[in-house]
């Protein structure tokens, strides 16, 4: 039985054989397309399930991986991205504790591997941060799992629903460990140095793909348990979310390095996404997080890939460098601007709708103040995105250097752009399937 998981896995395993043959990219693209077609299939092992929401997400994941492969020239990284897709599908489809933990650890592992392709000490520093963080997270998670086992949970089933002290402790500790992956305060620092220091195409995979996949999977797996949890716990999650997004937004202000701005913005977005866990009692929470993750996977991946293009082609890393980009690279500027506006939550782009539905879930459960703060945070984030746009459009370039972008890069950006715009307008495409996320 063919399915997306197998297709990705095969192509990932085969890909090292095709290095330096010139056909790897083509093959990978083909396999990704094929996987896109089979995205509604489920892994043929016990402990994996599928539902329409996950199918949609896997489709989008394949599309993004497709765009990434189009963009990428490093063949090792293509292999790694295929592996990432494999693990992501497993994580998204996992339905029991053991499959979830294994897939999650695999995701951590592949994340570390992705960062390992470093060329200098700064990049190495970024890689070390994620490695340490991943190790600690695994350790904490194991503690949590041991609590669960103590409470008599069966590893080969979904999370138990009982509310005894051991289960609660276990679940919360696992949850804490997962905060690592989601870069929630106070465990967000590694993400900044990792995303900002490693090369941007790798950051795109980590921050864009891996993060949104894990957020959706975590929500899918933990939300049923959190429903009807006491208000204090939901409220403390909300407070953590607010602190995270506030820190992310304020730290992103006054940054000089572009990747650093995007890294902090990524943390702010983690804050928004964590809100879904606090609003879990609303039926809109699952729609919100799915929408947010889909929007995020498009816009964040696209932004980091653009940073990569800027670094490689124009040697642009900072705001000062990017001045007047529009005068010599108008198309790229347009791509970048639209993705930034989407990140900022400007309407008619996916980023706005994701936030809007997610925040509406907050109103739905009556957390008015939390939503207000989140909205103001979102408005604040406009400040630094607009600041980048200001450098691109309103400032004069230092020297004229006109370069046209490749067709493949154009195509890859176009795919991501269409995603960002399409899902900003055709809201129902996501909303109509999102209710299945938890079933």
């Amino acid at each position: 039985m063919t399915n997306a998981f197998i297709l990705f896995l095969v192509s990932a395993i085969v890909s090292p054989l095709l290095y330096r043959q010139g056909v790897l990219k083509l093959l990978a693209l083909g396999m990704t397309l094929l996987a896109f077609g089979f995205s509604n299939t489920v892994i043929g092992l016990s402990g994996f399930e599928n539902n329409p929401a996950v199918t949609l997400f896997i489709q989008i994941l394949s599309a993004v991986i497709f765009a990434f492969i189009l963009h990428e020239r490093d063949e090792h990284l293509i292999t790694q991205s295929l592996f990432l897709a494999v693990v992501s599908i497993a994580l998204l489809q996992s339905s029991t504790l053991v499959t979830f933990i294994i897939s999650f650890e695999a995701l951590s592992l592949i994340s570390v591997i992705i960062t390992l392709g470093f060329n200098n000490s700064t990049q190495a520093q970024g890689a070390i941060r994620i490695f340490i963080a991943g190790a600690i997270a695994t350790a904490i998670m194991m503690i949590g799992v041991s609590f669960l086992l103590l409470s008599g949970a069966n590893l080969n089933s979904a999370l138990p629903k009982n509310r005894d002290i051991l289960t609660i402790t276990g679940v919360l500790i696992i949850f804490t460990a997962l905060f690592y992956k989601m870069t929630i305060f106070p465990m967000h620092n590694w993400a900044v140095s990792t995303y900002a220091n490693i090369s941007s195409d790798r950051a795109a995979l980590l921050s864009g793909v891996a993060k949104s996949v894990s957020v959706v999977a975590i929500f899918k797996f933990f939300a049923p348990y959190l429903t009807n949890m006491s208000n204090e716990i939901l409220l403390s999650i909300a407070i953590l979310a607010i602190i995270t997004m506030t820190i992310g937004n304020f730290m992103a202000l006054f940054r000089e390095k572009l990747s650093s701005i995007l890294a902090y913005s990524s943390i702010a977005h983690s804050g928004y996404m964590l809100l879904a866990f606090a609003f879990v009692n609303s039926k809109y929470a699952s729609s919100g997080i799915l929408y947010m993750a889909i929007a995020y996977i498009f816009m964040q991946t696209a932004s980091f890939l653009i940073l990569d293009i800027l670094k490689n082609r124009h040697n642009i890393e900072t705001l000062t460098d990017i001045k007047g980009l529009s005068s010599y690279s108008p198309i790229l500027s347009m791509f970048f601007t639209i993705q930034l506006l989407s990140l900022a939550g400007i309407p008619l782009l996916a980023g706005f709708m994701g936030k809007a539905i997610l925040f509406y879930a907050g109103i739905d459960v009556g957390m008015l103040t939390v939503v207000l703060i989140a909205l103001l945070n979102s408005a604040l984030s406009v400040a630094y995105y607009a600041w980048i746009i200001k450098h691109i459009y309103f400032d004069k370039a230092q020297e004229g250097r006109k370069k046209y972008i490749d067709k493949s890069i154009f195509l890859s950006q176009m795919i991501l752009l269409i995603g960002t715009i399409l899902y900003g307008i055709y809201v129902y495409k996501i909303l109509n399937v999102s209710i299945f996320l938890l079933h």
Binding site: I165, I173, P186, N189, I233, L253
Partner: protein, 614 residues
């Protein structure tokens, strides 16, 4: 008849546009268009006048919103007709006069089109049935006056004078505007006649009535140059003399009186006429005294205008519509005559306005001297000239009415008799005596008989003839006789003769004594006060500048920048501060970071374990 009325109302505006456009190709056209328009308008008015049996009235709905309908109808009764005759008749004469007066000016099209626009505004004002149309005409005239005063806008003084004129009159106008709102609220109509009847029948609350009457009167004060809003009128003399004659002597300044006369019953019902009389008396006195010491002939005429309009106001204030309006009409004619005469003198004397540089012009400009002399006699109240009858009627009314007896009547009498002093002084200084500037005297030009002297002659004859028709004019307007007081005419006449002798002595015979007198410190101080119009302008200017511009405006300017906007802009340093604070927390090494996190997890476990979370 309605067609004629519509033509009367629209023609001036149409002609104004045509005159401007046509004048661009050849400047002569604009004059002829204006002249012909003036004559047509006057002819239409005459037709209306001679066919008058009952008021002409046309109802027009201007606009309607929600349940509120704003009409702008036309209503021409005897009062309007008289005003129309003045406006169109004097307007036509003035345009005729301007042919020579404005000959050398390169902006003739603009001049004639603005004058026509003005005449249109005046016609609209006096034939409006509602407050809306009245206000429209009122403001049209205001703008025309502003534009014409600043006609030579490239010079500083006329430009400043225009600003002053507009702001002073506009200050009054906003009260009229407010009164429209108030009256509409109180009576649900803006029809002037209806307002009068409703006021008389007591359908409108008395306090509201008084407030609106007061507000309308403030507008009248502004427009008619009464105390304390008169300084603009003196400055307005910076405009062309033809403009001063038409707008600031004969027509526009009358509109304040017209509006009070139009709403006369409302004023009576509101018991606001005392206010009118009081302000009138004060202005009459201030104007008359200031006129005595002016050295520019146009300024003398301006102060005399102020003073004489005040006399008309006092007539109304003394509850005599007949006296007030008759004086208004007479004044319009002889003041236009005097202004145009002054214009003729200036034209001949190369635009010298200072009377002390003229003198003995009578020998060269004999016709002008004669006609202006007639105007002088009329103004100072010498029979059989028209001014005599109406002025005496006003003073008689002031003495006869209980409300105005006393201070008001004394002031107005003083102002009345003082007019011989300033106007006699003007005539003597210009036309009699020795030529004080020989060089200028030699260069005096002869004016054209047809263009310059003819209009003067027409008006001089008019002011003489009208003296015989005073009672019929009074009847036509108000249906009443002019007020009479026994022996008043004799007293007044003897006072006039006495003062005429005084003028003869001081300004003709013994100028040396006058000059000596002026060097005395007390007289010098008094002269200074009077010369500056009792410093009213300085006081107002000081107040407005220091309290409004440098006070409130400056305060709000700084408030806006330093408080409201700074509060918004403060978000930048604030977020910068937060950013820096957070940055300090960020600079942790990976090991510190991890240690803190593990500590945090331990705390979390402890809390869960011992805090007893359900």
């Amino acid at each position: 008849m309605n067609t004629l009325i519509i033509i009367l109302l629209t023609l001036p505006f149409v002609s104004a546009i045509i005159a401007y456009i046509a004048g661009r190709s050849n400047q002569k056209y604009s004059f002829w268009i204006a002249e012909i328009t003036g004559i047509i308008l006057f002819a239409i008015t005459l037709i209306l006048f001679f066919n008058y049996s009952k008021p002409y009235s046309i109802d027009i709905e201007w606009f309607k919103f929600a349940n509120i309908s704003m009409p702008m109808g036309i209503y021409i009764d005897s009062l309007s007709l008289v005003m129309l005759l003045i406006a169109t008749g004097l307007g036509a004469l003035d345009i005729h006069f301007a042919h020579d007066y404005m000959q050398d000016d390169p902006h003739k099209p603009r001049y004639y089109s603005e004058v026509l626009f003005f005449i249109g505004g005046m016609i609209l004002l006096v034939s409006a049935a509602e407050m809306t149309g009245l206000f429209m005409g009122w403001e049209f005239m205001g703008v025309a006056s502003y534009l014409l005063i600043s006609f030579w806008h490239h010079q500083k003084a006329p430009a400043d004078a225009g600003v002053s004129a507009f702001l002073f009159t506009r200050f009054g106008d906003i009260f009229l505007f407010a009164a429209i709102g108030i009256l509409f609220y109180a009576s649900n109509t803006l029809n002037l006649e209806q307002l009068n009847t409703m006021a008389v029948s007591g359908k409108i609350d008395k306090d509201i009535l008084f407030v609106s009457a007061l507000f309308i009167f403030i507008a009248a004060i502004g427009k008619s140059g009464q105390f304390p809003l008169f300084p603009w009128l003196m400055r307005a003399m910076e405009g062309p003399t033809t403009v001063s004659a038409l707008i600031h002597g004969a027509t526009m300044v009358n509109s304040g009186i017209y509006i009070v006369a139009r709403l006369f019953h409302l004023y009576t019902a509101a018991e606001a006429l005392t206010v009118v009389a009081t302000i009138g008396a004060i202005s009459a006195f201030l104007g008359a005294t200031s006129a005595i010491v002016q050295s520019e002939m146009k300024k003398v005429l301006a102060y005399s205008t102020m003073s004489h309009l005040s006399i008309a106001f006092v007539g109304l204030g003394a509850s005599s519509l007949a006296a007030g309006m008759t004086h208004l009409i007479n004044h319009a004619i002889f003041k236009a005559l005097l202004f145009l005469g002054a214009g003729a003198v200036m034209l001949s004397a190369h635009h010298v306005k200072d009377m002390w540089r003229l003198g003995s012009l009578g020998k060269k400009l004999i016709w002008i001297a004669v006609f202006m002399g007639m105007g002088v006699l009329s103004l100072s109240g010498v029979p059989p000239f028209s001014g005599y009858y109406s002025k005496d009627a006003v003073i008689a009314a002031a003495w006869l009415s209980n409300d105005t007896q006393g201070a008001i009547s004394i002031l107005v009498t003083v102002a009345g008799v003082l007019s011989i002093v300033y106007i006699g002084r003007l005539w003597v200084l210009i036309f009699a005596g020795k030529a004080r500037d020989e060089k200028l005297y030699k260069e005096i030009k002869k004016p054209s008989l047809f263009w310059i002297v003819l209009p003067l002659g027409v008006m001089a004859v008019l002011t003489l003839i009208m003296g015989f028709f005073q009672e019929s004019i009074s009847h036509f307007i108000s249906g009443n006789d002019l007020p009479h007081m026994k022996y008043l005419g004799y007293y007044m006449l003897s006072a006039v003769i006495l003062l005429a002798i005084f003028v003869y002595l001081f300004y003709y015979r013994r100028l040396d004594i006058t000059q000596k007198l002026y060097s005395h410190p007390f007289v010098k101080g008094l002269h200074n006060i009077l010369f500056n119009g009792w410093f009213i302008e300085k006081i107002i200017h000081w107040g407005v500048w220091n309290f409004i511009v440098e006070g409130i405006a400056k305060a709000s300017y700084y408030f806006d920048r330093n408080i409201v906007d700074r509060f918004i802009n403060f978000s930048l340093p604030a977020s910068s501060f937060i950013n820096h604070t957070l940055n300090r927390a960020k600079s942790l090494t990976p090991s510190q970071d991890s240690a803190y996190t593990i500590a945090g997890v331990i705390v979390l476990i402890a809390v869960i374990a011992f805090g007893g979370i359900r």
